[in-house]
């Protein structure tokens, strides 16, 4: 293990549990626990169960000040003006060319006080970007990542498992809403959000409290889940992952993320480039596919349309629920809806069909997309 890798507060818990540790976004993270990724997957998807994820590698940025709203309207794509206190919004940071710096969630604590959750791999770049842009605004941008542990508790039993530990009635927290409340005696942010398609919560707490909460949730019956199952769960939902479906090379027009890009809210960084891309047409099309033949479509595998290379897989897996290989892929725009599809696996063209996401049923309110 590279000694320069950072560790989350719970690292020793994972090692003691016998987890397989891998480097991920600069952190030594558990990829799976001894019973294996499939069991962790089923523990999260199954009735009466919940999975517990240490995702403390992710970053948290507090934005506070008189200009917090105009500042966030300028740096994020979604309409922050629509948020009320206690609401969460999926959004993105773009560069001037319309490419993704990151995808984020924005929490409105008060009209002049917000909290952003960002990807671990992009955190330093995000913070530098936000602080540079903040120079023109009466706003303070503070990186709280190193002091904060983020846990996700996801699955059918998440609410029942968490309720005994918190001082708020969890039924009062709706989908993509949050509360700041006591969690085992310490203040935490608890949001009904996640990356799995299951009902569940994300818990932001001080590092000093992480082990106590982790242990209590495991004692309550949650199953620890590593990165391998987490990636299966998110891919089955068709959720984008930075570095796969989104990057600086694509805009929201390509990534099917115009629903988090509010062109009508006024100017924001990247708006002009996105408007131009919309009018000239997307350069690639993000599609969802399922194999009709046997095989697992993996990242970077070529996608063929009518026998010719059209693009490549960005995320793929064998879906235990769909019982077949499924994938997200970029293809040429003219192939978004037309042409016979196949994925090239070890030199063989395995036929596939276009489909829609999520690939399997989701337990979150389908009317309120992530």
């Amino acid at each position: 293990m590279t000694p320069s890798l950072k560790q989350t507060t719970l690292y020793q818990r994972h090692v003691a549990a016998g987890a397989k540790i891998v480097p991920f976004a600069g952190y030594a993270m558990p990829v799976q626990y001894p019973t294996g990724a499939l069991k962790e997957y089923h523990a999260t998807r199954g009735d009466g169960h919940a999975g517990l994820f240490d995702i403390a590698h992710m970053g948290q940025v507090r934005v506070r000040g008189a200009d917090a709203l105009p500042f966030l309207q300028r740096v994020t794509t979604n309409d922050v003006g629509k948020l009320v206190d206690g609401q969460v919004q999926y959004s993105a940071l773009l560069n001037e060319s319309g490419g993704f710096i990151d995808d984020i969630t924005t929490y409105r604590i008060a009209a002049d006080h917000y909290y952003l959750c960002v990807n671990a791999a992009n955190r330093d770049r995000d913070v530098a970007h936000l602080q540079a842009e903040a120079a023109d605004f009466a706003v303070e941008v503070r990186d709280e990542s190193d002091a904060t542990t983020l846990l996700a508790l996801q699955g059918d039993a998440a609410q029942a498992l968490l309720q005994p530990l918190v001082e708020t009635r969890l039924t009062t927290i709706g989908y993509y809403r949050f509360a700041e409340c006591g969690l085992m005696g310490e203040s935490a942010i608890i949001s009904r959000t996640g990356y799995t398609g299951e009902d569940g919560f994300e818990l932001y707490l001080p590092n000093s409290h992480a082990e106590q909460v982790w242990d209590a949730l495991l004692k309550g019956g949650a199953t620890p889940v590593g990165l391998a199952a987490r990636d299966m769960l998110r891919t089955e939902m068709g959720y984008a992952l930075y570095g796969h479906e989104i990057s600086e090379q694509v805009t929201p027009v390509e990534a099917k993320l115009m629903w988090i890009t509010c062109m009508e809210k006024g100017d924001f960084i990247g708006r002009e480039a996105v408007a131009a891309r919309k009018s000239e047409g997307r350069r690639q099309a993000l599609i969802a596919l399922k194999l009709t033949g046997r095989g697992i479509p993996r990242e970077h595998y070529p996608v063929l349309v009518d026998g010719q290379r059209s693009g490549s897989v960005t995320s793929g897996l064998y879906s235990p629920l769909a019982e077949r290989g499924v994938a997200l892929a970029y293809v040429r725009p003219e192939h978004a809806n037309a042409g016979a599809l196949a994925v090239e696996i070890r030199g063989k063209a395995i036929p596939a069909l276009r489909t829609t996401t999520p690939f399997v049923r989701s337990r979150v309110n389908p009317a309120q997309k992530r």
């Binding site: 294996g36 990724a37 499939l38 391998a228 199952a229 046997r294 095989g295 697992i296 897996l317």
Partner: protein, 124 residues
């Protein structure tokens, strides 16, 4: 770690049971454990000619794609088609129901270790 003494092993973690000129092969306990949950096995074609030390099958776990190398040269005479619907047999019974293929040997073989030598190799 189970390393049956009646089998031979490759340094790529395949096992082989030689009966006359027929070699039955699969992947070792160490290999299946390192890979994790197997979700797909690509079997060779029956009748295919394989060369010792060259990839002839593929096992895929949740996260990884891994080649299986032929321990001996020869012709594939039978494959374990059960693995097409139940790839997890490689995890649950790697030396039994999780066998991958039978090869009629034509003489060539990679370096094969007996159980004791393979155990030592794993420790190194």
């Amino acid at each position: 770690m189970s390393i049956p003494s009646d089998l031979l092993y490759t340094k790529e973690h395949e096992w082989v049971r030689e009966e006359g000129d027929v070699a039955t092969c699969g992947i070792s306990e160490h290999a299946q454990e390192a890979l994790g949950d197997i979700v797909f096995v690509e079997l060779p074609e029956v009748g295919a000619a394989v060369e010792a030390g060259k990839p002839f099958a593929v096992v895929e776990s949740v996260k990884a794609v891994s080649d299986v190398y032929a321990p001996v040269s020869g012709e594939v005479i039978e494959t374990n088609s059960q693995l097409e619907s139940s790839p997890e047999l490689v995890n649950t019974d790697c030396y039994g129901e999780g066998w991958i293929a039978k090869i009629r040997g034509s003489g060539g073989r990679t370096e094969l270790l007996d159980a004791a030598a393979y155990a030592t190799f794993l420790e190194e």
